[in-house]
Subunit: 352 residues, 2 copies
DNA sequence: CCACCGATTGACAGCGCTGACATTTACTCT
DNA sequence: AGAGTAAATGTCAGCGCTGTCAATCGGTGG
């Protein structure tokens, strides 16, 4: 076979390392795979040879022989601005384990999505897959993965699959804290902008909001609860209808920062002084949160940490092979409030 | 070898397809690789067998035997908000060619970056690499790739390597058009916020700006040209110092939308009516451009198209193997103006 | 000193495919 | 019809590693 061209070129092989270390290639293999039952002294010698030759084992060969792939998939559809950070976190964790991350955009809308997934996992022999919303709730994807027996980790799914782990954030508690800030400043009439109904976060955030409102004996005026889709443009409409209501609310809780930014725009257009006449809070600590004035008080998502944990779940799964431990792990992360300038006491309270 | 566990399981092999089609495995291989010199009728029969068995060739095996990897790398550092879209575009093009994209975050700051790159390319045997700024100007990365003989495509590099292709956008022309808009509305005293000095775009955009200013015999007041770093926070400072200048400029050209957003904030804080008293334009059509008021007039980046072209360059390169065609391809894409509400005639012109 | 046992190490086949080369087939031309 | 040629297909080894299982090593207890 020609070795003249192609990415491989005359790379060092395991045999060369074996010769240099005076052992068999199998022993080198054992060292590479960090197996026990290699004498410490032998291991050292092999490691030394590896370093001297600057040897890098071929993933292709390792995969073919060992029936592995060293690949983890990250499937997404219509990523938000958090995706790059997410994948960076996932890659970091994967690297520590000698794995690599393949990112694969998928079309939720596509009818062939199951076939696409199937082709992907069988060609690449993925060792695991991480699904970010809204894919984490896609039945086709989920089933295809399950049938193929590929370990899958679902990020913040609406409905966590019974036999597959998920990683969640405690949106409800965070929403409570944020609402408490508003109430603590003296707001009584607070509007709420809902997110996409197919996101778990939407429900949780609203629940956290109502928890606190009720706890303080405050009414949640249905007229002030509007459905958006996490999009700025939806936020515009919601905010308009909210701010037309009488009496006008003194604060708006938007389910994410994009919609909160929209509320800021609309408030401003209506000539309201922000935050004096209208307090606004968002969620996610998206880039836009600090790119508008006033900067948004919001809730930070530990995106990287979530990604690392998701990757970790896949990595930890390998040794066991025979399904997930029971109960299936469902880590839930706490969220951190980020208080900035978009909350102020309402006019009434200021007058008092 | 045990077949009990692992991602592979009892997948269909090429032999099974060969049997079913009544040909040798080599012929099946030929069909898979789309080689000519397979009789049409034979090809049909093989294709049929593949479909019936739902056969997916193992990339590992193909790679090992053929000394390929079917993998293209996308290297980045500190990605902007465009990364997800970029990678989606790249993945799309790669899929058409049966390749897969590996995303790899790299630390420009790290001293080991060369070693990291080297490990990556030799473990994975990447068939090509796409470098996005600022990595497209990183000498370590570039050299490591060159030594390893990996085809690399550089996105918008400051200094295009002589023997490696790059993909660029015509920022200068776009900046001219945008400046012309400002001048056309009657602005004479226009400030400019520069981007990161290590980005090619920074220079090009400024050049486009001065081109038009000079063409109209307008002075470029050095006091109104401030250096930022494409970051919102820098934009805040730049904008403050710019708007303190007397006489105050009537318009600001920011090198990107994040900084333009900062200018909007500062202008607003200083009590200026936007856009009546201050016009602001940005660049990139970032998400924030439509999430503030007034929405920014800016220049759209064809991010996906750039990514597709970059991937295409890698894909087209393979057949030739022996270096790039001469001259080395350097496609340059045109940019599209996006006019929104952030430009208005200056107060003087309005009075007139 | 020897049988014996667990810890180490090695020999070897083979993972699923493709490159090089051999062979067969299908035609063309004389 | 037979030679000659190009197209079509097949044979076989081997890509670089790991699983299986056998062999060897080192120390133990009798």
């Amino acid at each position: 076979m020609s070795k003249a061209a192609g990415p491989g070129r005359q790379s060092t092989t395991i045999e060369m390392v074996a010769d240099r270390a005076g052992v068999s290639s199998k022993t080198v293999s054992r060292v590479i795979n960090n197996e026990r039952s290699v004498r410490a002294e032998t291991r050292t010698r092999v490691l030394e040879a590896i370093k001297q030759l600057d040897y890098q084992p071929s993933l292709n060969a390792r995969g073919l022989a060992g029936d592995r792939s060293f690949l983890v998939g990250l499937f997404y559809d219509k990523p938000g601005d958090y995706l790059s950070e997410f994948q960076t976190g996932a890659v970091q964790r994967c690297r520590e384990a000698g794995l690599h991350l393949m990112v694969e955009p998928l079309e939720t809308a596509s009818a062939d999505i199951a076939r696409d997934v199937s082709a992907l996992i069988r060609q690449l022999r993925l060792e695991g897959v991480i699904l970010v919303p809204p894919l984490s709730d896609n039945a086709d994807v989920r089933d295809t993965l399950a049938v193929a027996g590929i370990p899958a980790v679902h990020i913040a799914p609406m409905h966590a699959p019974a036999d597959s782990p998920s990683v969640d954030t405690d949106d409800r508690t965070a929403a409570r804290k944020l609402t408490a800030q508003l109430v603590g400043h003296g707001h009584r009439r607070i509007a709420f902008m809902l997110g996409r109904p197919d996101h778990r976060a939407t429900e949780q955030r609203y629940l956290g909001f109502t928890d606190v409102m009720h706890a303080h004996g405050l009414a949640v005026d249905r007229q002030l609860v509007r459905a958006g889709n996490f999009e700025f443009s939806d936020g515009l409409e919601c905010a308009r209808s909210i701010l037309e209501a009488l009496p006008r609310p003194t604060a708006i809780f938007a389910s994410n920062d994009d919609m909160a930014a929209a509320a800021v725009c609309v408030g401003r257009q209506m000539g309201l002084a922000l935050p004096e006449q209208l307090s606004i809070v968002g969620f996610d600590d998206a880039p836009v949160a600090t790119m508008i004035w006033p900067q948004l008080s919001t809730v930070r998502q530990p995106v990287r940490a979530i990604a690392r944990i998701a990757a970790d779940l896949i990595i930890e799964h390998r040794p066991h092979q025979h399904g997930w431990p029971r109960p299936v792990p469902r880590p839930r992360l706490d969220l951190e409030l980020v208080l900035r300038g978009s909350i102020a006491p309402p006019p009434a309270a200021r007058a008092a």
